[in-house]
């Protein structure tokens, strides 16, 4: 059976920068998200703060590199700098800030910014992933 193509710990370059394609956040995204989670927008036209984060994770799948072989998403910190509104078009830019080899896989720390159509950083934070090493 063909193994799916994956981006392993060894493939991750320190300080590598990755930009995703952009996506317009619509009323449909907010409605689906609120229906699924019951995390509602604060007012009409507002976007719940966790939603752009969820969408940029998916946008990270549309870059010309195989998906990171994540064993576990360990944690993150996140700051909301500016509000995101329905109709805004966002993308994310991430950078590998640190990597540390462990016995089972390795830890990768990624800094991520979410940027809107005016080039403003709307959200930013730091993610910690446990990533698989290449199979021997």
């Amino acid at each position: 059976m063909a193994q799916p193509s994956r981006f392993y710990f060894e493939d991750v370059g320190l300080h590598d920068v990755l930009e995703t394609p952009a996506m317009t956040i619509t009323e449909a995204h907010v409605t689906m998200y609120a229906g699924l989670t019951h995390d509602e927008p604060a007012e009409p036209g507002a976007v719940p703060e966790i939603l752009p984060l969820c969408l940029t994770t998916g946008l990270g799948w549309r870059v010309p590199q195989p998906p990171l072989a994540v064993l576990a998403f360990m944690g993150f910190e996140w700051n909301v700098v500016l509000p995101v509104r329905v109709g805004d078009t966002i993308f994310s830019r991430s950078r590998t800030a640190a990597k540390r080899s462990m016995r089972e896989g390795g830890v990768v720390i990624e800094e991520r910014e979410v940027i809107n159509q005016r080039g403003e950083i709307v959200h930013k934070g730091k993610f910690t992933f446990l990533v698989a090493k290449k199979p021997a």
Partner: protein
């Protein structure tokens, strides 16, 4: 006009605790979240591959658990007069599997006035537990909350 029953910055006390109702996380939740977010990581979508993983089966997206606890938190007590969610520091401690029932416990750990007189920052420590009372996620969230008008 309806009476405003939201709780303002001035009403919230450090040390207050809340617990939400439970919610069972289903396969449907995970499939819809994958479709909505576009995050099709095999951890969440490939049942066969996951049989041989340390989890033994598909697990929910960490961010789905985070989003569900955000929804549960609004049912854990009288809602705050929240102006904005400002930030969080979060740890994923264990998997949420299909059929697990999660709930959130919150505790107010800090209140801080800001440079704007109409609002204040409230920090809530949150613990997401499963049906076996195992901590699956935990962290702190910072919320900007309105001050009581004309207090």
């Amino acid at each position: 006009m309806a009476v405003d029953s939201r709780r303002f910055f001035d009403d919230i006390q450090v040390g207050e605790e809340y617990e939400s109702p439970g919610r069972t996380v289903t396969e449907t939740d995970i499939v819809i979240f994958a479709g909505l977010s576009g995050d099709y990581n095999i951890l969440h979508t490939d049942a066969e591959f996951m049989k041989s993983s340390i989890f033994g089966e598909r697990i929910a997206h960490g961010l789905l658990g985070l989003a569900i606890q955000a929804g549960l938190f609004t049912r854990a007590g009288q809602p705050y007069a929240t102006l904005a969610f400002v930030g969080l520091r979060w740890k994923f401690k264990g998997p949420i599997k299909i059929g697990d029932t999660i709930r959130v416990r919150g505790k107010v750990t800090a209140k801080k006035e800001t440079s704007k007189p109409d609002r204040g920052l409230v920090t809530v420590e949150r613990t997401v537990l499963n049906q076996r009372d195992e901590v699956v996620q935990e962290g702190e969230t910072d919320l900007m909350v309105e001050r009581r008008p004309g207090r």
